[in-house]
């Protein structure tokens, strides 16, 4: 305790120089926390967005449904079997029916994926309520902002939609863009047209059928023949791996920032020991063992970390809070980005992340403080008092 007190005193007595080192160290700590937080926030947001817009709590896939093979769609649809059908009725599952179609905005021909969803659904954030429409007039559809740009259409624009029903017969109707939504999930935007489920089932003569069932958290997973349940983790595998891979590269930043702080500590420590040889000599002469002196200096160095944690908490907490709550916004159309990423990025900082970082920095600081202090052990106290050693 005495060691701690004297160490703290000599540190604070050093004034500006100490505070500069402390500030740099706090900067390193806060930066490492923020950088990790943003990356963590990114991957959490990717999952979060995907869950809110597309996956909810996982999906049942019908038979050989393959999102990458549009030609498999027709054979990968079936009536919803009983135990699942009850969950659909209770709103625990949202069925999605998918079919290929062609739209003709202004006489241009473009292939699209038509996805049917219940207008009343609450599970996904797609603004499906406008799909109810009335029985008269063009059929309402909603599209993502990216798709709207691809088709060169705006809200309330009308165009012709042509598709083939279950039996291969051609069918065409006028449709109206009843809603445009902005999402960071490209797979429900790019090339996709959302339409009322019952409409699409009637249009394709696939009453009661679906390709996908989106599961809500409240629903129990049931084993049903012909349908495979895919968890969110499974469905997000590729995206998460990508995020993980990209994050790996940033760990080099942490190392460099940490090295920067350690350079400051090392420099300060070395100079302190150099300048305070007489003090060291005196301490030994007064009866402290060399080990105790080394300890004194190590503690003094480690105290930088403690002070830095306090200082970092003072200025870093509001900053981290701001980044977590308000986020960093980008004035862009983010859905165009191939990887799910929202145009507001939030840092996701957990207590574990803060504690881990702080603890790690503390340990490293202690080690770096100890290294120059080791020299003291080899000092001859009489010469040290005269300041003739280093």
């Amino acid at each position: 305790m005495l060691l701690f007190k004297t160490a703290l005193q000599s540190l604070i007595g050093n004034g500006l120089k100490t505070w500069l080192t402390v500030f740099v160290l706090s900067l390193a700590i806060v930066m490492i926390i923020i950088m990790q937080g943003i990356l963590h926030g990114w991957s959490r947001q990717a999952i979060d967005d995907a869950q809110r817009w597309e996956l909810a709590d996982g999906q049942y896939w019908c038979g050989g449904y393959d999102p990458w093979d549009p030609f498999s769609l027709d054979s990968a649809t079936a009536s919803i079997p009983e135990p699942l059908a009850r969950q659909v009725e209770q709103g625990l599952l949202e069925p999605v029916l998918i079919t290929q179609a062609t739209v003709y905005p202004e006489g241009r021909m473009q292939g699209v994926m038509l996805r049917g969803i219940r207008p009343g659904q609450q599970l996904l954030e797609i603004p499906t309520a406008v799909l109810r429409g009335d029985s008269m007039g063009p059929v309402p559809v909603v599209v993502g902002a990216f798709m709207a740009r691809q088709l060169k259409v705006k809200l309330n624009d009308e165009m012709i939609l042509r598709w083939r029903d279950k039996n291969g017969a051609f069918e065409a109707v006028d449709i109206r863009i009843a809603g445009v939504f902005k999402t960071a999930v490209p797979s429900i935007d790019n090339g996709v047209l959302w339409i009322g489920l019952e409409n699409l089932q009637a249009m394709t003569m696939r009453q009661g059928e679906a390709n996908i069932l989106v599961k809500s958290e409240a629903a129990e997973v049931i084993e049903v023949e012909g349908w495979t349940f895919k968890t969110v983790d499974k469905l997000m595998e590729a995206t998460l791996l990508l995020v993980k891979t990209k994050s790996a590269g940033t760990s080099v930043f942490y190392v460099i920032f940490l090295l920067l702080a350690m350079l400051a500590i090392f420099d300060t420590q070395t100079l302190a020991i150099f300048r305070r040889q007489r003090e060291i000599g005196t301490m030994v002469a007064l009866g402290m063992t060399r080990g105790q002196v080394v300890k004194h200096f190590t503690i003094e160095g480690s105290l930088y970390a403690l002070l830095a944690i306090v200082v970092g908490a003072v200025w870093g907490t509001p900053l981290i809070w701001y980044l977590s709550a308000v986020g960093i916004s980008f004035p862009m159309e983010a859905a165009e980005f191939g990887v799910p990423m929202a145009d507001v990025m939030y840092a996701a900082v957990t207590p574990g992340l803060v504690l881990g970082t702080v603890l790690f920095v503390f340990v490293v600081t202690a080690i770096v403080s100890y290294l120059p202090a080791r020299k003291i052990a080899t000092m001859n106290p009489t010469e040290a008092i005269r300041g003739k050693i280093l």
């Binding site: 030609f71 062609t102 003709y104 202004e106 006489g107 241009r108 021909m109 012709i160 042509r162 083939r164 029903d165 279950k166 039996n167 291969g168 017969a169 051609f170 069918e171 065409a172 109707v173 006028d174 003569m205």
Partner: protein, 245 residues
């Protein structure tokens, strides 16, 4: 009393037109009789308007009944020697450059033939109209100076590509002069205009047809018969895969 009678007469007349027109079925039968030959050998030219200007394709075809057809492309140079065989529900294509016979199936059938407004499926769809559609004559109109019955065909089965068709059939020659194809919801999808009706071996035949995808901007595709022989003997074994190579 007389007044009442007149009103009744008028009312009945207005209900009557269907009786004044011939039965749709009989009209279609006549069309079939006129146009369906046992075999057919033709040389045709197709003009396709594309972004890069128009192109002309010439082909010689042999067909037998509704099921079998064999086509060999004659021009342009890069299509020359390409052969196509259709038997029942299968389509095969041979290209001399690759010396390969490729089966076209599934979604490939829905692709356009040589960039035209026709899909392979359109070309394959050959079931006699009467097997697929019920027919009602609902008007008489004149096209290009020819009196036509306007026949509305409604699909009998759900697996017919076009739910409804409207045909303008020359009353005298039993040849369609215009065909419109509709979706179930009533939207006009395709239109074919047939013209240049000539007498070929005692039958009336439209020698020129203009196909148009009505949803798409564009000029459409014109097909013209340069030569047509009906009910002639076909080379033996022409409808086998072996004849492709």
């Amino acid at each position: 009393m007389i007044q009442k009678f007149v009103i009744l007469m008028l009312a009945t007349t207005s209900l009557l037109p269907a009786q004044n027109f011939p039965a749709g079925k009989s009209i279609l039968e006549k069309v079939d009789q006129n146009m369906s030959a046992r075999t057919r050998i033709s040389v045709s030219r197709m003009e396709i308007t594309m972004a890069r200007g128009s192109r002309t394709i010439e082909a010689k075809s042999w067909s037998e009944g509704d099921k079998n057809a064999f086509t060999e492309y004659l021009a342009p140079a890069r299509e020359k020697g390409t052969k196509m065989l259709k038997t029942d529900r299968q389509l095969w294509i041979y290209s001399p450059a690759t010396d390969r016979v490729i089966q076209i199936s599934g979604h490939m059938l829905r692709q356009s033939v040589m960039g035209s407004d026709l899909s392979y499926e359109d070309m394959m769809n050959d079931t006699p109209l009467l097997e697929q559609y019920s027919a009602i004559v609902d008007a008489a109109e004149t096209i290009g100076g020819r009196s036509c019955w306007v026949v509305t065909l409604t699909a009998l089965a759900p697996d017919v590509s076009y739910h409804q068709q409207k045909m303008w059939i020359d009353q005298e020659r039993n040849v369609p002069l215009k065909i419109e194809m509709y979706a179930r919801g009533g939207k006009l999808l395709k239109k074919i205009e047939l013209s240049d009706v000539k007498r070929v071996q005692g039958r009336w035949f439209p020698m020129s047809m203009l196909y148009k995808d009505m949803l798409k901007k564009g000029e459409g595709t014109r097909m013209t018969f340069l030569d047509l022989q009906l009910d002639t003997a076909l080379p033996a074994g022409i409808f086998t895969k072996a004849s492709l190579k």
